[in-house]
Every structure is written in C-alpha cells, then in structure tokens.
Symmetry: none
Subunit: 229 residues, 4 copies
C-alpha cells in the first residue's frame, strides 16, 4: 500500500533548487499534476504529496498558490471545463449544413472524450460529490449559462429546412449525445468484462462512433411522408 513513496532519510545537503523562481510555471505544473492525480483517484483518494511529486515542486507551494486541497480540486474542475468549452467554441458548427453539423458534433464529443479521459473522470468525481464544487464556482456557473446552444441551433436549422423531425427537445438530444459517448468510456472497465470485448481497439472505437452517429440521425429523422405512399 505504500506504493513506492520511498522516504529519503537524508536529503542531499545543499540540495540544488529544482525549479528556479518561475511562479507562473510552477502554478501550471501544479495544476497539470493535480488534474492527473484527481482524475486518477478522486478527491479523497488524491494525495497532496503525489501532486507535489508529479509537479516536481515543493508541497508547500501548493498551499502557497491554491490554499488547500479542496481549492486545488476546484481549480482543477474549472480548468477541465474551461478546456472543453474552449474546444466547443472553436467548432463553428453553424457553418455546416444541419445534417453534417450534427455528425460533426457527435464526432467532436466522442473524440474529445477519447482524447481527454481526465475530463470524464473529473466529471464523474464531481458528480459523486453532487457537484458541490461546480456549484461553488462562480466561473463555472457563469460558463454553464453561456455554453449551451450548440444543439439548439442545429436543430432549429434542420427543422426549418424540413430535414429534421419537428419538436425535438434540444436538451434531451444533447443529453443523449453526451450519454452515448460518455458511458462508453467511463464504464469501459466493467463493460469490457460484461461484454467480453476489447473496447479501446481502433475498430471497436470506430464501430461505436458509427453506431452513435446513426442513433442521433435516427432520432432527428423525420417520419416518412405518408402522402407519398
């Protein structure tokens, strides 16, 4: 259980400073290390020492810059959300036709989760904590208010053009898109046992993405016009 946290009995006297005075860099390194540690172990499971080690700074600096473990955790969720919101903002789906925009959106969500496992795990952790820190964060509450309309806009255009079924609830669709991507990654460990499949192989990933796109398209697909028959 001690997990290699070897204790050095005597630190090399005259120990050279590992990282000369670059407060900004130190903060970034701490935050990056914290993302990894919290994502891997949750809030209570994460170790301040482990973060300091990973960041290659003195533990004291964490308290200097972030106050305490919980505040650091909060900074981590904020960062992780800021990142995905930035990526979303860079999408410019409004330039694509609705059909393609929807495909692009699903693909984006899928790919983002694939490439940012720390986002999923942090989100899981935060939900286990009943979003306590999300709620505490002014930054996040404000960000949430401004970051929604991705699906709304696509649905509106598709509906207007008559190529999407009318009356689809954008929140429901948005939730569904997220669900079918998110779950695959977050529950991959147990699912791969239950379904006895290698879920992270390239073909498996492609198959799932294709299925998800199909699902979303099936949802928005209009009823066949009965008058044609």
């Amino acid at each position: 259980m001690t997990d290699g946290k070897q204790v050095e009995t005597k630190p090399a006297s005259g120990a050279r400073r590992r990282h000369p005075r670059r407060p900004d860099l130190s903060q970034i390194r701490i935050l990056d290390a914290a993302v990894m540690e919290f994502a891997a172990n949750g809030l209570s499971g994460a170790r301040v020492d482990a973060i300091a080690d990973r960041a290659e700074i003195n533990k004291r600096m964490i308290y200097q810059y972030f106050g305490n473990k919980e505040a650091l955790y909060q900074a981590v969720i904020e960062k992780v959300y800021r990142d995905i919101w930035e990526a979303e903002a860079a999408l410019s789906l409004e330039e694509l036709p609705p059909h393609e925009a929807l495909i692009a959106l699903v693909t984006f969500v899928w790919t983002y989760y694939l490439e940012h496992p720390e986002f999923i795990t942090m989100l899981n952790t935060e939900n286990q904590l009943k979003a306590a820190y999300f709620r505490k964060s002014r930054v996040l509450r404000e960000g949430a208010a401004n970051s929604r309309p991705l699906v709304d806009e696509i649905l509106q255009r598709g509906e207007a053009e008559g190529i999407f079924r009318a009356g689809i609830d954008p929140t429901q669709l948005s939730l569904t898109i997220t669900s079918i991507c998110y779950y695959y990654f977050t529950n991959q460990a147990t699912s791969s046992i239950v379904y006895s499949e290698r879920m992270m192989s390239k073909p498996a990933l492609e198959r799932r993405l294709a299925f998800n796109i199909q699902t979303v398209l099936a949802i928005v697909k209009p009823e066949p016009d009965p008058s044609v028959r």
Copy 2:
C-alpha cells in the same frame, strides 16, 4: 502489557448490548450499511467506522465477517450486481412481442437505476478503480458470462418478424440503452446546473424515459420499404 504497563480493561460499565446474537442479521446489516457508505463515498472515501455506526454493530464484527475494508467493498459490488441480475432474470421479456419487450427493457433499466441509485454509484466507483474488484471476483465474472442475452433475443425475434431493422449489433444497442438511462442519473448533479433544469421532478423523469424509448425504437425501426413507393 509487559513490565507493569498493564492497561486495565474497563468492562464498559452498564453497556447495553444493542444486537444480541444474530450473526446472520449482523452480516446483512453490515452489508446494507456498506452499500450506502461505499455508494456515497467511494472506496477510499468510505469509513469503516461509519459503516459500523450505520449497521449499529461493533466495528470488530466487520473484520470478523468480511476480513477487511477491501473485501467488504468487493462483497458490496457482488451484492449490487447480484441484485440487478436477479431483477433482470425476473423480467421474462421473451413472453412479450419484440416491440413491447424493447419498451419494457428500457423502462426496466430506467426504473431500476431510478430506484437503485446505489447501483449506479457503485458502478461508477468500480470503474474509477478500473474494475479491479469486479475482475477479482469469481462470482461476478461467472455471473457476467451468463447474464447477457436480454437484448439479443429481442432483436432476433424482431428481425425475424420483419419489424426491426436487420443487422443491428446487440452489444451496441445494449450499451446505448444503458447509456441513455445511466448518464441521466449519474451526471444529474452537474447536468441540472448546465441545463438549469430540475431533473428529478416527476415530469422531467417521464419526459426523459419517453425520449429514451423513442430513441431505441428509432434505432431498430426498419427503413421504409422502397418497393412500396
């Protein structure tokens, strides 16, 4: 003990015994308490003392009956899976026509998650641990092997009757059904902020279930027969 440092054990004056001599009940109470505690706080976050308090037994008994915290945790996942597998087994979907069976399945999954939040949280926790304890458990590995074919059978019948689209991958569909139910609950805390909605209100729950049924039906729905046109 040595050398006169003897500590006299006070015989707990007037200590009332709370639960006399019911080993089976004790074990059940411990397990129930453990489900709650682990579900609420994860493996590392859970406190053995808290479990003992909740179970109203002496902490020592936990070790008597389950060995240690990790073993207790494993017993908890096993129980939680056993429960859902039992409920699944009681469904007898094969007696329903495929369409209704599918609806019943989605409804079952949805309702089970709604009524057993501890299952979701335990599953989350276990996935954060990369399914370490699931993998260790012979009971679970064997159970997983025998409990799958719910969706398979429905799809086969629906396809045979020509009312479902052909060639649907049952694993993908199964994953999707789970995803669209699971995510709603597991990420309800953050989602309700992001979408600023009360997600656990009765109408919200009904809306979501309806949407999910629709989604699944849309997936299996056959292409309109072009020859008819």
Copy 3:
C-alpha cells in the same frame, strides 16, 4: 501480517463438537499449546486465538480454566520449570563418582536444552519481563529453594577426594555450566551468522558438548602438586 488467520464467514451450522467433555484433557491441551505459543512469541507477542486454535478448543475455555492471558503465561512458566526440576531430580548423580557426575551433569543440561527449546525461550521471555511472573509464583519460589544442591554435592565429594581443586564456589560453577550450554542454543540464530557455521548439525553439537565438558573439568582440576617436581 495477517498470517493466514483466515476468517470463516459462516461456521458450518450444526458444527459438531470437536472435543467432548473432558475438562482435564482440555486443560492439558491448552497448556501445551500455550507453551508453544509463548515460547515462540513471548508474552505480548503470543495470541490467545492462536493458542485456542493450536489446542483445538474454544477460546472461552482458556478463560474458564486459566482466568486470563497472564495467568496462563504464569501457568506455562510453572509447568516448564516443574518439568526441568523433575528431570533433574531423576538424575541421581550422587551415585556416580565426582568426575563422572560432573560430566553427567553437563551432559544432562546440554541435552535438556537441546531437547526442550521451549524451556530456553520461556526462560528468556521471563527474564525480559524481569522475572515478574516467576516472582509472583509461590510454586516457583518454593521449588527454587529446594532444587539447588546438584553441583554443591558433587564439588564437596570431589574436593574431599582430592581430585577437585579446593574452594570452588558452587554457585559460580553452576552458573558457568548453565551459561556455556544455554547461550549456544539461545543465541544460535545470530551466532551462526557471526561465526558462519551450521551450529545445529550433529557434529557441531557434539563438538560443543565436548568442549563444554573439557571446560568444566579444567575449572575443577587441581593445581599440579609442586612438591612432585
């Protein structure tokens, strides 16, 4: 560290009684088991559970018959001393000529220690406890008073016959005999490393006994009569 103390979650219901009502046998089995456990682990290191397991009785019986752990420990030292005193009493060295009696005594001490390692370890343990339990024991204090004169008598006879040097302090000699036998066994673990020798092999044991006999004889050997020269 748990050392195979596997916990049986459910004892076989209707467990057959392992040992039917033989209180005398139970007491003996407890005592024998206790000798082994205390000898192996000392007072604080010994486990009441381990003793019960070894004795194949219910732990409760230990308290029934002996009161508590310390009282059992005391019973163990008493037994261990009673045994060696009995063996000493059976020696009847007074029938041998002094020279042979001395050799027989050394051989007896040596052999007894060799065949009763539990005596040495118990004696060690008790000395670590500053003889607290020896002192408490009326039986032992009385026994000690009556068991001394083995060496005294031999020395007197040898001196009277002129074959032993005069004025040898019997207590010193007795201590020396004990020392040169005892230490070899009690400190065998470290000594075998320090001297890098296999100390418990048959030839090694024989060599040591021979050396010890020689030593004792050298001690009692009279000065060569200067008048003869």
Copy 4:
C-alpha cells in the same frame, strides 16, 4: 472529506514546538528512544507511541525518517552492533602479551555487557525472532564477516609462545567467553531468585568476573609437561 463531512483541523492553539528544525538531532533522539523501548519490550511489545514520547517528537517523524516500526527496529539492531564493534575495534589487544590480552578481552566483554544492558536485550530479542532482521541487514552481514579474529590472534600468539595449550578451537573459546559473561546478565532476574543472591552488587560482579577470567585461563592452560617429572 466528501460531502460536507469535512473535519476542520484545529491549528493546535498555542501549541509550543518542542524541537525546532533539527532533523539530525531528531533522528538521533528517535534512535536512542527506540533502543530503550525495543530493549525493554521486544519488537511486538514496543509501542511506537512510547518511542515518540521518549524521543519528544511527533510520532509522524518516526515514519518520516525510518519508514515503519520494523525498519526502525532494524536500525536499532544495526546501531547496537555498530557500537559494540566499534568498541571492540578500539581494544588493540595485539599490543598485549597473550595472557594479558585474554584477560583484557574477558574483562572487556564483561564490562561492555554490564554497561550496555540494551545490547544484551536487543540480542535476545533478535534471537527470539530467529535473527530475521540481522539476516536482512546488509550492514550487519558485512560487519559480521569483518569483526571476528579477536580471539584467533591471541590464541595463535599464545600457542606459538608455548604458554597456551595447542589446538584450541577459537570459535569455541569465543563462544564460551561470551556465554559466561552474557548469561549472567541476561538471566540475572531468574538466577537471583534461584540462587537467592544479589547478583548486581559490586562484590558479586567482581567475584563473577574473577571466576570467568579463571575459567578462560584454565581452558587455555597447557598440560603440565610430563617430561619434567
């Protein structure tokens, strides 16, 4: 920590710091305290808390500097052996004539044991553990290999000069010297009862040392030359 069960760490109002910032001193104090505690109570009987109290440091530092209880115990045996080996090395017996060297050696062993009761008790403890930690220690295994030849050299010189009997096994003699000094102290508690003597009084100690020197000299004393007769 999760879910508002936060425990506020009280900053120990007005807590005076007893030992400010002297890591080297802290380590020494811990080690000294540990020697006493382990010597008095053995490995399992020793209490980490007691060591911390004796050392007047925070218990946490013990783990900081030594890792855990067993590692601290190992450090203690190493220290205790290092000390006696250093003292041995400072003897320079080779400058004395063989006869005097032997007397000096016995006197040294005797005096060292008298003045360092913790060495004897630690050695006892370690032997009860079957030298497990001695064996684990590279330092000790190497030290043992280099520290032997004290008796060898004396015997060789004495034999060469014709004042010692020929063919004495140095290991046996060395063991005997150690035995006759060691046992007196280690088993003093029980012996003083059995022989009903005050063994630690000054005259008693002197009598024993004299007897021991005599014993060793008797062992090495050559046979009277028969040709002279």
